[in-house]
């Protein structure tokens, strides 16, 4: 029986068997793609972006920008684009009806069946998706950086990516993820979106969402799980390195702060667009495809700077709630109250004048000052592993440096074709 994903459409893996793949790529023009496109090729081929099966054509981009829907009627909030220069279109012979081979690291990755080549007004796209045209918005900067021609068409992998250590256990595509949830007997699974090493504020966000999602279900067994779905993609200097993020999230379970029955860690390959409310809607589609039933949303979800209000994402989600198959779980900020002597939430605690708020940025400052935070704030196992990751993967630092950007082990590779 088909697994049904976002938009009520079946989740389809578009991956050729090796023997068939070798024959199909013969004679195709090869186009080398960059990391962002390679990530999205994987997402499209494994069904993370269901109902999309390829890069968008103009009608879908129009519908997404103007109505936040695809032409098939499914809610969709962010254009999924494959860009080329006009010269590349000409030189590679990219045209409707032509198939091309997409290579990554010089090796065959996917076939694209070109359906359309089109232009698009990038400024109008920015206004629609990000609510601004300012170049300093990172999503706009990315959009303005796209080449001038866009190519729509279906994607089929000709080789599965080889996921490199330490990421291997965390790459769990939608169909496999749904099997894992069934094996665990989870009836409700709540998504935790993250790009951070977890402090106890994050931990309590997850624990709070676990309770909210559990609601009226029986407690004879564990029927609710928390899925950490880390967004792994383009990095900026000063971010935590990817290895530290994914391994420390899982460490919360390994160290017993969550039981094996209630917690799982995974990754999705995606370059954040910082689209705030629209990225929140995108996350709803993505996590629906992964088989989640609930999704945590805090204040200023996936926002940047002061572009979006604290609850803009919640308000936008409410406009499409009847059309999506995931229940938002809204989370208040968690903080330390010295009077209570514990982590508590803004809604629960009455000692407002004593609250001590902390953030990932503040914790990073503590770590950079050479101080080990107390276990109530930052779990010692997470702290130790963060520093260990810095030594093992980060060239001496758990934060992204120029050396890390240059020499890091890629999350995945495409091997030469046999």
């Amino acid at each position: 029986m088909a697994e049904i994903g976002h938009g009520g459409k079946p989740i389809v893996e578009r991956i050729l068997a090796p023997a068939e793949a070798a024959a199909k790529i013969k004679g195709l023009k090869a186009i080398e793609i960059r990391a962002q496109i390679a990530n999205e090729v994987i997402d499209l081929a494994y069904g993370y972006f269901t109902p999309l099966q390829g890069f968008m054509g103009k009608a879908d981009v129009d519908a997404v920008c103007e109505k936040m829907h695809l032409t098939d009627g499914s809610v969709w909030s962010i254009p999924i684009l494959f860009d080329l220069t006009a010269d590349e279109v000409k030189n590679y012979g990219v045209a409707p009806g032509v198939s091309v081979l997409l290579t990554y690291g010089g090796n065959p990755m996917a076939i694209m069946e070109v359906e359309e080549v089109f232009d698009y007004d990038k400024k109008a796209m920015c206004q629609a998706v990000f609510g601004t045209t300012e170049e300093k918005h990172p999503g706009c900067a990315r959009t303005y950086g796209y080449k001038d021609k866009f190519v729509g068409g279906k994607i089929t992998l000709v080789q599965k990516p080889v996921i490199n250590d330490p990421y291997t256990p965390y790459f769990i595509p939608p169909l496999e993820m749904r099997k894992r949830f069934a094996d665990k007997g989870w009836k409700r699974i709540v998504a935790h979106q993250t790009r951070n090493v977890p402090h106890t504020g994050h931990e309590w966000l997850m624990k709070g969402a676990f309770f909210q999602s559990y609601a009226e279900l029986p407690i004879d067994k564990h029927y609710v799980g928390v899925l950490v779905n880390a967004i792994i993609g383009a990095k900026r200097k000063g971010d935590y390195i990817d290895e530290a993020i994914i391994l420390t999230q899982d460490q919360l379970r390994k160290s017993g702060y969550f039981s094996d029955d209630t917690h799982m860690t995974s990754l999705t390959l995606w370059d954040m667009r910082y689209a705030g409310p629209r990225e929140a809607v995108f996350h709803a589609a993505l996590r629906t495809n992964l088989g989640l039933t609930h999704h945590m949303y805090g204040r200023d979800h996936a926002g940047v700077g002061t572009y979006y209000g604290a609850y803009d994402a919640h308000n936008l989600l409410a406009t499409v709630q009847d059309e999506i198959n995931i229940t938002p779980v809204y989370s208040e900020n968690w903080l330390f109250c010295p009077h209570c002597g514990e982590i508590t939430s803004e809604g629960l605690c009455g000692h407002k004048n004593e609250w001590q708020k902390f953030s990932g940025t503040l914790i990073r400052s503590i770590v950079e000052d050479g101080v080990k935070p107390p276990r109530l704030i930052f779990r010692p196992e997470v702290f130790d592993l963060t520093l260990e990751c810095g030594e093992k993967y980060g060239f001496g630092s758990p934060f992204v440096t120029d050396t890390y950007l240059e020499k890091r082990v890629p999350v995945f590779s495409i091997p030469p074709m046999k």
Binding site: D300, T306, F358, T361, L362, E368, D369, V371, P373, I377
Partner: protein, 99 residues
């Protein structure tokens, strides 16, 4: 209306605490977040802007803590040394004179 003030948290590691003790300033520390020792140095709007411009890695945490974070450790060491020198956390003007 009172002028807005933005804290820079100088977290007190063992090395810094030893220096404070030697200077007889151990009592200056506040305690935050379940036992961390910290010295809080405040910047006004103009000083905040100058700090963010002078030290590009620094970030103003506008969403949660309203504090200036991610100053390089060496810079925080300089701020700390100025606190010890002046026996006061009211040193931002003096510190920024060098920039």
């Amino acid at each position: 209306m009172a002028e807005e003030k933005y804290p820079i948290n100088i977290w007190i590691n063992e090395e810094r605490f030893a220096k404070l003790e030697n200077a007889g300033l151990g009592e200056m520390c506040e305690e935050m977040l379940a036992g961390l020792k910290v010295l809080r140095v405040y910047a006004n709007d103009a000083q905040k802007d100058k700090i963010l411009k002078t030290f590009p890695t620094a970030k103003f945490d506008s969403a949660t803590t309203k504090s200036i974070e991610l100053l390089p450790r060496k810079v925080k060491d300089l701020i700390f040394d100025k606190i010890v020198e002046k026996s006061s956390v009211d040193i931002m003007d003096a510190f920024l004179q060098a920039y």
